[in-house]
Symmetry: C2
Subunit: 206 residues, 2 copies
């Protein structure tokens, strides 16, 4: 209790937990039913808090999605960097990424983001924020392929680095769409086979 001079302005009445419950339920709903397909009433019912209270924590529906997408992506990046450090070769990192994506990448949420971004009625500011999101995983993929070329694991031209990362990301994203409908084991096999095809398809020495 001594020395509480300044840091005491932290407000821990904890409606922080409420906020995170709302965020969690909203994320799942947006992922499963899309942005337009999810109503505030849905989020209210699922989270157990009133519609009005959702607006106490989030300015509006659009800002809620943006918040979710941003938070998801920044946490994704941190976690991947931690995982990535445990693997040495690009090939290993690629397999690790596939496994990581299956368990962490909330692609459907980013899809909801794309839904919002492609709506002409959406504010340019929101669009800009949402479009920047795809850059995070793309950069991570790019880094792996760049490493692979440097180590000689992969035989890619400089110009193919970006596009290969893009294609790998597209495939990862596509597979994630089946997260809610397929069982984990066969889906994991598909993730692994994806990596195998890419590794074989671009390996050095032609």
């Amino acid at each position: 209790m001594i020395g509480d001079g300044y840091a005491m302005n932290k407000r821990h009445y904890d409606s922080e937990e409420t906020r995170s419950v709302i965020a969690e339920k909203a994320a799942r709903l947006f992922s499963q039913k899309g942005f337009a397909g999810t109503s505030i009433a849905d989020i209210s019912r699922e989270s157990g808090f009133s519609k009005g209270h959702i607006y106490y924590h989030f300015e509006n529906k659009e800002k809620l999605l943006v918040y979710l997408a941003l938070e998801t992506m920044s946490s994704w990046k941190e976690r991947w960097e931690s995982v990535s450090a445990g693997y040495g070769t690009a090939t290993q990192k690629l397999y690790a990424m596939a496994h990581f994506v299956q368990n962490n990448y909330k692609t459907p949420l980013l899809q909801a983001g794309q839904e919002v971004a492609s709506n002409p009625a959406t504010s340019p500011e929101t669009v800009a924020q949402l479009m920047g999101l795809a850059a995070t995983p793309m950069h991570a993929y790019y880094e792996i392929f760049k490493l692979g070329v440097e180590t000689g694991e992969f035989g890619l031209e400089e110009s193919e680095l970006q596009t290969t990362g893009f294609l790998f990301g597209t495939l990862m994203g596509g597979l994630c769409q089946h997260l809610f409908t397929m069982e984990a084991e066969p889906l994991e096999a598909l993730f692994r086979q994806s990596v195998k095809i890419f590794v074989e398809g671009i390996r050095g020495k032609g």
Copy 2:
């Protein structure tokens, strides 16, 4: 004018054209904005026909989407079979497929179908119809890889045939999502590179 005994019951007052205009515009809207994100008013505005008239041609919004998805897929199959006959090797067919998909595959529409199918409020009959749709392109992909194995172009186990087709389809579908946001040329390059990676990644002789 002679011999009009029976086939005369064909009604060609041609509101058939109207129907197809509505269908066309609705398909583009569902593709771009999703099912929930597209209103009947949107379709009315875009097609130039009144809201009420849309219900003259289609029972309701859900049936309209099902009709579009079904029609799109059956026409897709016919056209592909016609194109496919012009190419001899599995590798050639794969490149042809990528090009064909970019110009014909209305993947976003099937995504809208998935959106509807995953909604618990959707009738089981509709769900069943929509879920069967993905089978059409999957079978076409499967046939190509099967051919490739038979000719020795590809080195795949029997058990990998289905999954490889599935992965190729996932990648094609993912790339189609960029049809509305990317320019045609760079997108075509991505389609081609996809095929290259697959062909190299699974070719015979290891």
